[in-house]
């Protein structure tokens, strides 16, 4: 790795803490971002010459703060900038900031920076774009590429989101315990949105969107480091790692969806699974269950099964039952029905999902699952109808193609007069 690559990684790593602290000083997001930008440019110039500082975040906060104060003064009085040498001589001041970097202020700075992306007035796509831009530090072209929109459109989306956040007023006071927990919950939901935006992409976009999954996991790890004893944050991180671990096996060479049962499990990332399992084990010790932990526990049961037939479906059924009680939702029941079909058969599973049809009438997966249950029960005509509705609701070409395979199989079986 070159010096430059190392510096860029260090700048990206320090960004949430630095922009968060600068936001607290200047109470304005644009000023904070400009100041960070300024400090980063100075770092690129200064660090190769003088070596990296002991604490890059402290260095950047100090330099960024000075730069923004200078810029304000310059605008006010047209005063000259201080000498670069003066700015670079940071010795004691940097040490003082570094000491405070471990304090609660900085923890709350990062949380606040993430929390302003979660404003309830912002639609999910704007929350995701804002978080990728101001917390993760992705460039507008990078984000535009992930969303398949033009750079101008993405720029506009981010500008609009920022204006809305600024108009809503950023909460600058230090949060109390209850408020902190509330912010953590909102931030967790936002990170999961970012992750899913990357994870739910079709094969064609999967590579372009992978950075969204990576960024969500990176920021979740950062949250764990700041708030080390929050079992739901551990659960969320575990959930994302365990799902992301399966990414290399989710599409075949032609870009077609490969179902969990058919995936080549040797392609799963062992390192991500190990980390995810360690996190869920840690979380469970707290005995404070929550939806992320339960979902991670379900993902963990899949990850622990060396072969599909080793999967503990009875336990998965129980976990989905727990999730239904915590977060009642027809989608959760639909997922539970898949486990039920493995444990008690397709008949019981079908009975479970039939009452959901009214609420899930626009949901692709409902008809895909329903069709699969009907097919297993030998009710070919009804299965065909369900698959037909699924194709009409498919969100991507891969989803539609996957259902069409089932249909083709049904047609072949119908024509041949026998099953396989």
């Amino acid at each position: 790795m070159t010096d430059l690559a190392w510096i860029e990684a260090a700048l990206t790593a320090a960004r949430p803490q630095v922009v968060g602290a600068l936001l607290r000083y200047f109470r304005d997001l644009d000023t904070a971002e400009d100041a960070f930008q300024d400090a980063s440019l100075r770092a690129l110039n200064n660090w190769p010459k003088n070596g990296p500082p002991r604490d890059p975040a402290a260095w950047l906060i100090l330099v960024g703060r000075n730069a923004a104060i200078d810029a304000t003064r310059r605008r006010a009085k047209q005063q000259a900038l201080p000498d670069e040498a003066v700015l670079s001589d940071l010795g004691d001041a940097e040490a003082a900031i570094a000491e405070r970097l471990d304090g609660a202020d900085y923890r709350d700075d990062v949380l606040r920076l993430m929390f302003i992306c979660c404003h309830p007035d912002l639609p999910p796509t704007q929350q995701i774009a804002l978080a990728l831009r101001i917390v993760a530090g992705l460039t507008v072209p990078q984000i535009a590429r992930a969303f398949l929109v033009s750079e101008a459109a993405m720029e506009q989306r981010i500008t609009r989101a920022k204006a809305r956040v600024a108009g809503a007023g950023v909460p600058f006071e230090a949060p109390g315990a209850a408020e902190r927990a509330e912010r953590l919950g909102a931030v967790a939901a936002m990170l999961y949105l970012v992750f899913n935006e990357g994870y739910s992409a079709g094969a064609a976009e999967a590579d372009r969107r992978r950075p969204l999954c990576d960024e969500a996991i990176r920021l979740a790890r950062l949250l764990i480091r700041l708030f080390p004893s929050e079992p739901e944050i551990m659960g969320l991180t575990a959930l994302m790692l365990l799902q992301h671990a399966r990414s290399p096996a989710r599409y075949d060479a032609d870009g077609a969806i490969v179902l969990l049962d058919d995936q080549d499990r040797r392609l799963w990332s062992g390192r991500m699974i190990a980390e995810g399992l360690a996190l869920i084990d840690k979380a469970i010790r707290h005995r404070l269950p929550g939806p992320y932990q339960v979902q991670a526990a379900i993902a963990a049961l899949h990850a622990r099964a060396a072969r599909p037939e080793d999967t503990d479906w009875a336990e998965i059924d129980l976990l989905y039952g727990a999730l239904e009680r915590m977060q009642p939702s027809p989608v959760v029941t639909l997922n539970r029905a898949v486990a039920v079909s493995k444990v008690r058969g397709a008949e019981a599973a079908l009975a479970m999902i039939e009452p959901l049809e009214g609420r899930l009438a626009g949901y692709f997966h409902f008809f895909g699952v329903k069709g699969a249950f009907l097919m297993r029960l030998g009710r070919a005509a009804e299965a065909r109808e369900a698959f037909g509705r699924a194709i009409a609701l498919a969100g991507s070409a891969e989803e539609a193609a996957h259902i069409r395979q089932h249909l083709d199989r049904l047609m072949a079986e119908g024509a041949g007069g026998g099953g396989r």
């Binding site: 190392w6 990684a9 790890r221 480091r225 991180t237």
Partner: protein, 122 residues
């Protein structure tokens, strides 16, 4: 003398490497590993998962189980080597070579007092 060479690095920074960058560092390290192994100097090597996956058991009258690594520091212990050299200078040279393959961070060279290779580990 056996030495442990402990690899420290900022996890935040390492976490920002792309997969390609991470792979490149590991490939450069593999060259050093191979040279040390061929010379018969290399024992077990481990890369640790992030400290966010760590739990600390602090001893006291009642052992206390705490989330996270033992110490919150700027740079974390990310992995370690066991090497065997006749002289301390050679151990330092090996750490320097590893450092050239994996810039940033630090390698701590620590003599080993008791070594049991074990048999049950993966």
């Amino acid at each position: 003398m056996q030495y442990a060479i402990l690899c420290y690095h900022s996890e935040d920074v390492v976490g920002c490497w792309s997969k390609a960058e991470d792979d490149a560092v590991m490939a450069r390290l593999a060259v050093v590993h191979e040279r040390l192994a061929k010379a018969g100097r290399l024992g077990p090597v481990a890369r640790l998962l992030p400290t966010t996956a760590a739990t600390t058991v602090r001893n006291g009258r009642e052992p206390l189980v705490l989330d996270g690594p033992f110490a919150e520091t700027k740079e974390q212990l990310l992995g370690f080597y066991v090497v065997d050299f006749d002289t301390f200078e050679e151990a330092i040279a090996a750490a320097e070579e590893l450092g050239r393959a994996n810039p940033g961070g630090a390698y701590e060279v620590r003599p080993i007092g008791l070594y049991k290779p074990g048999g049950g580990a993966p």
